[in-house]
């Protein structure tokens, strides 16, 4: 009788939440769990707070100088860049998504995943390849001159605004493509049929129905592309096209004014936050607009020149966004391989691998802890803390670097002062300029990247799975090892891969927070490209592209199954 009662109460409590087997004795443990998301949230909030408060700090001469000279240009540049990349990526991404999702043309299957490949190349790599190829001294213009004479007045200036915009469109259109394609795949053909049964032809159906219905996804993709654009440092640095990120870098490392840099950063942060708010809006609309995938997703069969023109369109995009840069990198790398592949190159590689590995381990562990914390205590406050903790991804690397550097410098000074007063020891700087600073910065920025795959893997462990496991007599660590871990494994692996590659490609945080003389592949590329030594930049870039291909292949294999 007693056993029965206990069984009943156990049942009713465990249906409320997965883990509610905790009595009052576990109350204190709950605080330990709940603290984790808050600590991570603080890690994000401190840099943001630091940057924003700097806006109200007293302004010095440097700031005045910046406002008069740099800032207007930066604002104009940023405006045109955002406008150009946003509309270009939208046009390219949406049209490619529609064609591959709804139409049938030669090579459609291949292109539907191959068009994601440009994501494997960091934008700054595409940028320096484009400059190396199409600039005045590059092979294309040189060849043209030898054929057509020295006067190539019609050839567009690659270094100009248009050049940056085109490079970024080619680098960032896959974000729009990916999301829009998802929307069109789930509802494109069906909504067209519904429109047709109500008397609209296909063209009307596309513009009046399919496009408006996919709007949240398209807008979400554009927002991602824009956030990447605003955060980009490497591409604009290669092109010498001043935006906020390069201005922040120059203010700090050129004019040695941390306060001016952080004031610039505070302006950038305002723009980014406006983006985040808009993105969240679109995302919430996506949730409502979700439709079930229709079983019969027959495609519009195109024939003759119409079909082949789509093949041509997709091929040209893929050629310029992926094949050409990769081929040129390969050629350059082959040329310089014998002289550049030496002890130093191995050192860059080693540094990159070391940083990426530690960052991936740290970030995934924290993400796991956060995910478990929410699983155990899914109250609104904890969830909100996780929301804040994962916002770091939206912060541009330059902003985050400054936002983390300032408080760490402050803590460092404070620590050395204490050490001085208490023990009379000259400690010097303890944290600043160490790998710890870099890892904290990476973790803050890339937590969202590792959080989402681990979180979605955790969603598959429903509370009834836990109950079934308990019912079979397993609990605690045994349950973790035999049930949770096997289910989470894939998600953790994906998360680690993504963070690994992202950290490897990351440029501004690495540049601005690394220990003195600590060079990675990305740093090497920055240094070589700022001297215009494209060939020397190619060898480290090849390693980055190879690493970058890995998660794309992983993703494609997962989704094409």
């Amino acid at each position: 009788m007693k056993g029965e009662t206990r069984n009943l109460t156990g049942k009713s409590s465990s249906t409320r939440a997965g883990f509610s087997h905790f009595s009052s004795s576990a109350y204190r443990a709950s605080w330990g769990w709940r603290l984790i998301p808050f600590l991570v949230a603080v890690l994000v909030l401190v840099p943001i707070g630091t940057i924003i408060s700097s806006f109200f700090a007293p302004t010095g001469d440097v700031w005045q100088h910046l406002v008069e000279t740099t800032l207007p240009g930066v604002l104009v540049n940023t405006f045109w860049l955002a406008l150009g990349v946003g509309s270009g990526a939208a046009l390219l991404g949406v049209s490619l998504a529609w064609f591959t999702a709804v139409c049938e043309f030669p090579g459609r299957k291949f292109f539907s995943w191959a068009l994601l490949l440009p994501l494997a190349i960091p934008a700054y790599v595409t940028a320096f390849v484009a400059l190396g190829l199409f600039d005045y001294t590059g092979p294309v213009q040189t060849t043209l001159r030898s054929w057509l004479g020295p006067d190539l007045f019609w050839f567009p200036n690659v270094r100009g605004r248009l050049g940056v915009i085109i490079v970024m469109i080619l680098a960032f259109y896959p974000y729009v493509y990916l999301l829009a394609r998802n929307a069109f795949l789930t509802q494109g053909k069906r909504s067209l049929e519904a429109a047709q049964s109500l008397g609209f032809n296909r063209t009307q159906g596309f513009f009046r129905l399919a496009l408006p219905m996919a709007r949240p996804w398209i807008a979400g993709g554009i927002m991602l592309a824009l956030m990447e654009t605003l955060a980009d440092f490497g591409t604009v640095a290669v092109f010498n096209y001043d935006t906020f990120t390069t201005a922040i870098y120059k203010a700090w490392f050129g004019m040695f004014s941390l306060s001016a840099a952080s004031q610039l950063a505070s302006l950038l942060i305002v723009i980014v936050f406006a983006m985040i708010v808009m993105e969240q809006q679109f995302r919430s609309r996506m949730r409502y607009a979700e439709l079930k995938q229709s079983a019969r997703a027959g495609r519009i069969a195109l024939e003759g020149w119409r079909a082949w023109s789509l093949t041509g369109f997709a091929s040209v995009t893929l050629f310029f966004a992926f094949l050409l840069p990769v081929a040129q990198l390969g050629i350059w790398a082959a040329v310089v391989f014998s002289q550049d592949f030496d002890q130093r190159y191995l050192e860059f590689l080693w540094h990159s691998l070391l940083l990426s590995t530690f960052a991936a381990l740290l970030t995934c562990s924290v993400a796991l802890l956060v995910v478990y914390a929410v699983r155990r205590y899914p109250d609104p406050v904890t969830r909100a803390a996780v929301g804040v903790a994962t916002i770091g991804y939206a912060l541009p690397g330059t902003v985050l670097a400054i936002g983390i550097f300032i408080p760490i410098a402050w803590v460092d000074n404070w620590l050395s002062e204490i050490a001085m007063q208490l023990f009379h020891i000259e400690t010097g700087l303890l944290i600043q300029g160490t790998l710890a600073t870099m890892l904290i910065a990476y973790m803050t920025r890339f937590l969202a990247v590792s959080h989402s795959p681990i979180d979605s893997a955790m969603q598959r462990i429903t509370s009834s799975i836990d109950e079934a496991t308990r019912g079979l007599g397993l609990s605690g660590w045994t349950m973790l090892r035999r049930v949770h871990l096997p289910i989470l494994k894939g998600g953790i692996f994906t998360a680690a891969t993504l963070v690994f590659v992202d950290v490897m490609k990351e440029m501004p945080i690495t540049l601005m927070t690394r220990p003195f003389g600590w060079d990675t592949l990305a740093v090497r590329i920055f240094e070589m490209t700022s001297e215009g030594a494209w060939e020397q930049a190619a060898l480290p870039a090849v390693a980055l592209v190879l690493a970058g291909l890995f998660p794309i292949i992983l993703f494609v294999r997962q989704t094409e199954k």
Partner: protein
């Protein structure tokens, strides 16, 4: 009444796989037809061919006497004046209920459109939900919006693709009767596709039972049940078992429970040559053909019983070893293994020659 829709020997194939083969039927104006069959029988494909979403490779589809689909011709769906209610409703999630229903009325004046939408909202009983979005509605409400949206442009023909399959069973029954009333009130001609016979019986005037891309029988619900044209229809519609028997003459057949007298001379295929005296046949016995009667000399053992509320469906082993079903009022509660008296009480005979046993299953 005039013929609205005519399908003549249509054929549809995905690559080499023939999905619809040599299929024909006609539908009168104002009638509600139904294609009934197990999943994968090609019924939805027929619907999509009529709508113009799929081409046909042979045959002809005529609407109001005009060809809309032929082997190498397919009038675009938007020019057919055929409305469709999709299985997943395909409501436009970014539009309100009013905008969804009014979507197909783009050629109407604003005033006219508003009044038509209002009228339809009344008809489907959603008068106060006009400003809501699809995700704020229940499944049944969404279904009604989909119906109203398809009816709004007054299509010549309305197609309904498994319209109730996403609803729970209790709602399904009520809504299917309601939909019939709505369709009849709008004087609509419609074709419904479903795998659920209760649904088909509730809505349709005439039903085509489909199997492997072909229509096995196009008839009223009554005839499908009581006069199935072949073994497949007999098995698919309702419950029943086959008992071996022997034809005595074209009107009489003997089975172990007695001699059955048919009201029409032969019940197998029209060109049947086998129903003469002495031919072995399988006779379809429905649960209501066998009546419980304690006085009857024939005793059968209860093998299985399913309580149905008003009735109990008994599975019985006959003295000769055959199995039969019997529907008995539920106060006759017998235990498993018990022998009960039964009597054959059937006023017609459905029999199929034993030689085609394998052909249709």
């Amino acid at each position: 009444m005039s013929t609205l829709l005519e399908l003549k020997n249509i054929r549809h194939a995905y690559g080499k796989q023939v999905v619809v083969n040599d299929l024909s039927f006609t539908l009168e104006k104002g009638e509600i037809g139904c294609l009934l069959g197990p999943s994968g029988c090609g019924k939805t494909t027929v619907l999509r061919c009529i709508a113009g979403f799929e081409p046909i490779s042979a045959g002809e589809i005529l609407l109001n006497g005009k060809a809309i689909s032929r082997a190498s011709f397919c009038l675009p769906p938007e020019q057919r004046h055929i409305g469709m209610v999709f299985q997943d409703y395909a409501l436009f999630p970014h539009l309100t209920v009013v905008a969804n229903i009014g979507f197909g009325l783009h050629r109407m004046q604003k005033q006219e459109r508003a009044s038509r939408v209002a009228e339809l909202l009344q008809t489907v009983g959603l008068g106060d939900a006009g400003t809501k979005y699809p995700h704020e509605l229940s499944g049944g409400q969404q279904q009604r919006v989909a119906l109203a949206r398809a009816l709004a442009p007054r299509p010549d023909l309305l197609l309904l693709d498994e319209p109730f399959s996403n609803l729970d069973v209790s709602l399904r029954e009520r809504l299917s009767l309601e939909v019939r009333d709505i369709l009849k009130s709008q004087n609509a001609t419609a074709i419904l596709v479903t795998h659920d016979q209760d649904e088909a019986f509730a809505i349709a005037d005439e039903i085509g039972v489909m199997h492997r891309g072909e229509i096995q029988q196009w008839d009223t619900a009554y005839n499908l049940y009581h006069r199935p044209a072949n073994r497949f229809v007999a098995n698919f519609i309702g419950q029943g078992v086959f008992l071996s028997g022997k034809m005595l003459d074209p009107r009489h057949v003997e089975i172990e429970l007695g001699v059955l007298t048919g009201d029409i001379p032969h019940q197998c295929t029209p060109d049947c040559q086998l129903c003469g005296a002495g031919n072995p046949v399988d006779v379809l016995i429905r649960p209501d053909d066998i009546v419980h009667d304690d006085a009857s000399p024939v005793q059968a053992a209860v093998v299985h019983k399913a309580f149905r509320g008003a009735d109990i469906l008994y599975t019985l082993r006959l003295p000769g070893g055959g199995i039969a079903l019997s529907l008995v009022p539920s106060h006759h509660n017998h235990a498993l293994g018990e022998k009960i008296g039964i009597r054959l009480e059937a006023d017609h005979v459905v029999a199929f020659s034993q030689s085609d046993r394998a052909a249709n299953n």
